[in-house]
Amino acid sequence: MLVSVYIPFLVTATLAVLAPPAARRLPPRPAAWALACAALVTAAGWAGSLALLAFTGLAQIPQIAAEGRWSVAALRSEDPVYFVVAAGSTLALAAGLVALGVAAVRQGRHLVRAWRECAELPGRTELAVLDDDAPLAFALPGAPGRIVVSRGMLRCLGADEREALLAHERAHLRGRHHVFQSVWRLTAALNPLLRPVAVAGNFVLERWADEEAAERVGDRTVVAHAVGRAALASAGAPRSAALAVTGGAVPQRVRALLAPPPARRSLPLLAGGLLLVVCCASLANAASDSDRMLDSAQWALCTTRTGTAAPAPTGQDQGQGQDQGRDHGPDGCRGGHDRPELRRAALLTGRSPGP
């Protein structure tokens, strides 16, 4: 508990710093998957660790301890978590969950709106053209998704480049890139540390679509020119500032397309995977520690109440494998109090309640 509960934070921070630059250099498809996995696992680890810290703090409040029938003194003597840390964790967790809820509602609303627009766009073709001189192109996820391009955009591109543009947007729809985007948005809402991962993720999705378009068209330079020309045309066109997104992404995409395709590398992916395993393992370890701590605090309360001189299990030595020994507690304590606590402990660790 002392160390392992903090390891998910460490892993999250490490990945938030290292993953974005690494992902930009990897082939975009595996990079996007890796970033999505990293975001999901670290978000879960983050929330789990905060919940454990918050819980150990709350468990020391006398009223809650009375409700759960464990000894505050025993818990306090064992628990290395300061009250400030526990309170901070509670606040961070609450704020994260509220932000996650807000983001989820918003994201859901956007997806529903896009879905509806897809259905209402005229024609039964994949491509819907807007009669508009401003260059504009995007993919609208739905069933089926639609590609929306303005006349202005089509007119500033050559035949091959138009094909590249359509292939790019088609790749977004086929790869269900809006799902990746949702994962990054929601995890970044829960944990603001993951925001750089979301930014890098969106860039990687564009690269993914670029690479797929290059494969389809059979010429990387054509896609590079399509992206560059579209961006320059858009830059020249008057439009609202609301359309501004990440600066600097387009030259990077063009440069990547003018260079040979990125080499496959497994070392960064392996390293990232290892970090995620460490994150999960330490969270599990912290959870079982916390469970053991509460069990022994309950034991402590039992022994003081019944006044038996039975050797109380010393919390530190009480390993996970010694559950059997604990079940032979004083009968008065066992019958009267243990069931709800065991059930709670079982909830924490996924163990089934004792007989």
């Binding site: 005229p122 024609g123 053209v129 009669d131 590079a224 020119h225 359309l243």
Partner: protein, 145 residues
């Protein structure tokens, strides 16, 4: 895994030879919108990437016409086609309201290109004019300093 590979190989085959029907429709529609006036099937074919059969283009044009995406008028022995614009301008208004509504529409829309800074624009001109590599390296080191 193997099935996926097969699927991809199949799609790649379609891309090189007979492209998927929906994709072809998009290409033809895009070509007509990019053109200045009504186009005959032969003219459309010239504006399409790759080497499509004339009859394929004709089929797609008449299919798009059936769907109400194109209008046509007699020209010589065949037709000249033009995009149907009334629906499209209506759509344009709807899409603008979609783009302007809500602060984070980025959630839904994967845009082809994002906004450029002045520096990006300069860099992009250099990259596209063919001698991109050397100047871009200079540029990058400039930015680091």
């Amino acid at each position: 895994m193997a099935g996926r590979g097969d699927e991809e190989a199949q799609e790649a085959h379609e891309a090189s030879g007979r492209r998927a029907r929906g994709a072809l429709e998009s290409d033809v529609l895009a070509a007509l919108w990019a053109a200045d006036g009504p186009q005959t099937a032969r003219e459309v074919r010239e504006r399409l990437p790759g080497d499509l059969a004339y009859t394929t283009v004709l089929t797609i044009l008449s299919r798009l016409h059936d769907k109400g995406m194109l209008v046509r008028h007699r020209e010589g022995r065949g037709y000249a086609y033009e995009p149907a614009r009334d629906e499209a301008s209506h759509t344009a208004q709807r899409m603008h309201s979609l783009l302007e509504g809500g602060s984070d529409r980025e959630a839904v829309l994967a845009r082809f290109v994002s906004e450029l800074s002045a520096q990006d624009e300069h860099l992009l001109h250099q990259l596209l004019s063919g001698h991109g590599d050397a100047p871009s390296e200079v540029k990058r080191s400039d930015r680091k300093r």
